[in-house]
Amino acid sequence: MAVGKEIRTKIVSIKNTQKITRAMEMVAASKMRKTKDKMQASRPYAKRIGQIIKHLAHANPEYKHSFLQQREVKRVGLIIISSDRGLCGGLNANLFRKTLSQLIQWESQSVEVDICTVGAKAFAFFGNIKSLKVVGHVSKIGDTPHLSDVVGVINIMLDAYRQGKIDELYVVSNEFVNTMTQRPVVDKLLPVVASEIENGLSGGHWDYIYEPDAKEMLEHLLLRYVESIVYQGLVENNACEQAARMVAMKSASDNAGKLIKELQLVYNKARQAAITQEISEIVAGAAAV
């Protein structure tokens, strides 16, 4: 019986797609566990160094490091951390939307922007925008990012900052809230400015005692700070990518399941109709005889 041949082939093809998405879901789930561990492992360090830098912003150092001084903002640097691969839901799209709104804000203040992209997706998106200058790019970092992967990008930006080509440095990346939620965030890295005073901090006018000396120490610390924040953004984005992919692939598998169910129903109905028709034809034929 050649009933519903097209429907049957369609069901088979959807089943195959479902197999693929299910496999990707499982791969992403196991990778997510690993990348999440990695993210959580390096979080305390990033948090503490951020805290120290905050303290430092309250100090009154005898040596004025350029990373601690505010300048009039004419041009800013932006490091965009995205994933290399797609099929991870709205992860990159949300990040880019957030970035674009930030870019529009800068444009309205006639601030120019230099961009460094991490990950193929960001380069593909922002590399095509004519009014933006992409000064650095790195991709194909893979599932186990190392600090050395992003050192090049960081140095480009820091050199530009030291030479006064850019007056502020920002990082955009996804923050891992939980498996279902990832939030794009824009962080200002440089210059470091004082925020509200925490307890446990000396009040009034004070400065650190530095060893070996202020210049070397601050240079070392601030470099570490920038590296650690960008690295943290990278591992965090990595965990976000796997989580988002897992969720996207799960919903794709579920949708395929639904589609198969519906098609199966249509197919069964068509088959039933054909059988009924055949029977009534035979009965009608027998009655005629």
Partner: protein, 140 residues
């Protein structure tokens, strides 16, 4: 009651120690320092060596760090270590082997080695062994 200071030790891989202590000893760039509560703000690089957190007269926690940064606020001490391990967990055999290997490559005068890397390796291994030795002497 004795005065205490909050101490946080983190390495690039994990949080190693967090809690109150009476005194902290650390290998600062210009020599070992002991930090008591209400120390003046202090910022220093750390050399490879032993960090010791004295929680009470009876109890103290020794760690080995491979360098890092020390920040002191009157009521807060933060140590950012590149890597940190509990002194007890130091692998003596591995440290000895690393030391031997580093010495060997330093003795190799053909110039084919990265002198600085080998030297750093040697210091690491020696400091690990020294930390272990001190730990034994104290009879922990």
């Amino acid at each position: 009651m004795t005065m205490t200071v909050h101490v946080d030790i983190v390495s690039a891989e994990q949080e190693v120690f967090s809690g109150l202590a009476e005194m902290v000893f650390a290998p600062a760039e210009l020599g070992e320092v002991g930090i008591a509560p209400r120390h003046a703000p202090f910022l220093s690089k750390l050399k490879p060596g032993e960090v010791r957190v004295k929680v009470s007269d009876k109890e103290s926690f020794p760690f080995f760090i491979s360098g890092g940064i020390l920040e002191v606020q009157p009521h807060l001490v933060t140590i950012l270590a590149d890597t940190a391990i509990r002194a007890k967990d130091i692998d003596e055999a591995a440290a000895l082997e690393a030391k031997a290997r580093a010495e060997e490559s330093l003795a190799d005068k053909s110039g084919a080695i990265d002198y600085e890397a080998a030297h750093a390796q040697l210091i690491q291994a020696v400091m690990q062994l020294r930390t272990l030795e001190r730990l034994r002497k104290r009879g922990d």
